[in-house]
């Protein structure tokens, strides 16, 4: 296998070295635990506050470690690249996040994540931690059916973590934090496009082969091919292919308020994300929907993939206030 063209030393050590760098750069915000690997808030769990833990494969940075901090997560558990973490990483993170008020686990809907968090919750429960789990499944590219693995959790996860984090900070109890997380999950939808594949370090070659004049619509965040492959189109046209199913699935009606989140897959210039944002916003406004909050940037990535996803969250006063609440993480801060 030819050496893969990345700023890494070794596919086997990249996650650990990256976490070490992350911890060294932001000691005021995070503390890195190395055996097993997880990211926790500097200063540890706040007494009486519901703990929030999330996690998943690495390669989606800043998700989840970049969202650890006041107003968002208490701990994040990174797996190997694109591979769910193991229960013996997750369980200690859950314990570290617990200050007696219980812990909400925010899990993206992937078989691996669900199963590993399930086992971890059992382990933590055995140690006396009350754990509740919510499963994020915002990707409308995937058919949601009782007979399938269901929709994936993608960029909408940021909204779940931010809003549930704010609720926990405000003193909501575990049931209430879980309820507001479920409210976000019920009201957030996403869809993504890839212009290029990404290369997982250990795989050494692109996750799929895409001709120069074709793109993948309905991709997830693990370099999987999308639902369909179409000829390259203009940004406005592509944006419409992403926004329409999202808005339709949410049944958005005129007069409703939303958060519009355009997420980059890692390798897309910010200038292009704003081109997508511009069109997505116009399409929502054509429907009479009011965009009252916005987020644009690379927050839930697939390594160096070029592409973007469009996420819409239906807002009410509670969700808006929680979105606006202070947050101090390395990736989101206000």
């Amino acid at each position: 296998m030819a050496a893969v063209k990345k700023l890494i030393n070794d596919p086997q050590t990249v996650v650990a070295e990256s976490l070490e760098g992350f911890g060294a750069a932001h000691p005021d915000v995070v503390t890195i635990h190395s055996d097993p690997w997880f990211v926790a808030r500097a200063g540890g769990a706040s007494a009486g506050k519901v703990g929030l833990v999330s996690g998943g494969g690495s390669g989606h940075e800043p998700l989840h470690g970049g969202f650890v901090g006041v107003g968002m997560l208490d701990a994040a558990v990174p797996g190997a690249m694109f591979t769910s973490p193991t229960p013996d990483q997750i369980a200690p993170a859950i314990q570290a996040a617990d200050s007696g008020a219980g812990v909400l686990a925010i899990v993206k809907n992937y078989t691996g994540d669900v199963l590993n968090f399930e086992t971890a919750a059992e382990l933590a429960d055995a140690e006396g931690v009350t754990v509740r789990t919510v499963v994020v499944n915002d990707d409308v590219a995937v058919e949601d059916s009782l007979y399938t693995a269901g929709r994936r959790g993608v960029a909408g996860t940021v909204a779940v973590e931010k809003i549930a984090g704010a609720a926990a900070e405000r003193g909501y109890d575990l049931d209430a934090v879980a309820a507001v997380a479920e409210k976000v999950i019920a009201n957030v939808r996403s869809m993504g496009v890839a212009l290029t594949a990404c290369t997982v370090p250990h795989a050494g070659k692109p996750s799929f082969d895409l001709p120069d004049d074709e793109i993948e619509i309905g991709i997830g965040i693990h370099g999987e091919p999308g639902r369909r492959r179409i000829p390259l189109a203009g940004a406005d046209e592509i944006t419409e292919m992403l926004l329409t199913p999202v808005a339709d699935d949410l049944n958005l009606a005129g007069g409703e308020k939303v958060l519009l989140f355009v997420n980059g897959m890692g390798g897309t210039p910010a200038s292009e994300l704003y081109v997508v944002y511009r069109r997505a916003r116009a399409l929502l406004e054509e429907r009479g929907v009011e965009v009252t909050r916005s987020l644009v940037g690379n927050y839930v990535t697939s390594l160096e993939m070029q592409g973007a996803s469009v996420t819409v969250l239906r807002l009410d006063d509670e969700l808006t206030a929680l979105w606006d609440a202070p947050v101090h993480t390395t990736a989101l801060r206000w």
């Binding site: 296998m1 190997a80 591979t83 193991t86 013996d88 691996g112 086992t119 007979y147 996750s207 999987e224």
Partner: protein
């Protein structure tokens, strides 16, 4: 003829060897319809298993102890979907084999327990394009062979053959479980990586019994 703890250790070492040998193939299969990590995950897991085996102070007492070591190590090093699925399979198999030696029916019990564990965790049935499509025919073939009086080695050999058939038969399927299900119709035409790793592991079991 029966299988003892030496067989179990040999099975595990052979499993590691074959998984590592087929690492790139499993990655490539998973790249087609998943996220390209299955070969890496299994290699990481079985490398850790062998390291654990090598580090044991005393030889394992029975087959169950070996399988439990495999279970906990895979569970804590593989991650992804395969980690909990294989982990549970070995854990259930360990429970079903708390005996010093396995006869043919004992081999059947091992395989059945493993399959039950996978289904209990993953909630997949046959035809969903997962490792269940290799484990199920393997277990059925083992039952048939054992019932017709085959030796443990022949039971495992029948299971491995059936796992191979089962894995190949996943090619035309449209996945409805696991990561490949996100591809919908586009998942058809590709062999399921977990079914392939199942086949490799069962072939290792048969070879260890030869």
């Amino acid at each position: 003829m029966t299988l003892d703890v030496a067989w179990a250790v040999d099975w595990v070492r052979r499993s590691a060897q074959t998984v590592i040998e087929h690492r790139d193939e499993l990655i490539e299969l998973d790249r087609q319809i998943g996220d390209g990590d299955h070969g890496e995950n299994m290699t990481r897991g079985f490398t850790a298993v062998v390291a654990k085996l090598d580090a044991l102070d005393a030889a394992p007492a029975d087959i169950g102890e070996v399988l439990k070591l495999v279970a906990t190590t895979l569970m804590s090093t593989v991650g992804g979907a395969a980690g909990p699925l294989y982990g549970t399979a070995y854990l259930r198999a360990a429970k079903a084999t708390g005996v010093p030696e396995l006869d043919s029916q004992g081999v059947v019990a091992l395989l059945e327990a493993a399959l039950e564990g996978i289904v209990a965790r993953g909630k997949a049935t046959t035809g969903e394009k997962t490792m269940v499509d290799a484990w199920t025919p393997a277990t059925e073939a083992a039952v048939a062979a054992a019932d017709s009086g085959a030796s443990p080695a022949d039971v495992l050999s029948a299971a491995a053959d059936a796992a191979h058939e089962g894995a190949e038969a996943t090619i035309p399927l449209v996945a409805t479980k696991g990561r490949a299900s996100y591809l919908g119709e586009r998942s058809a035409g590709h062999l399921d990586p977990g079914a392939r790793s199942t086949e490799l592991i069962l072939r290792a079991a048969a070879q260890a019994a030869e």
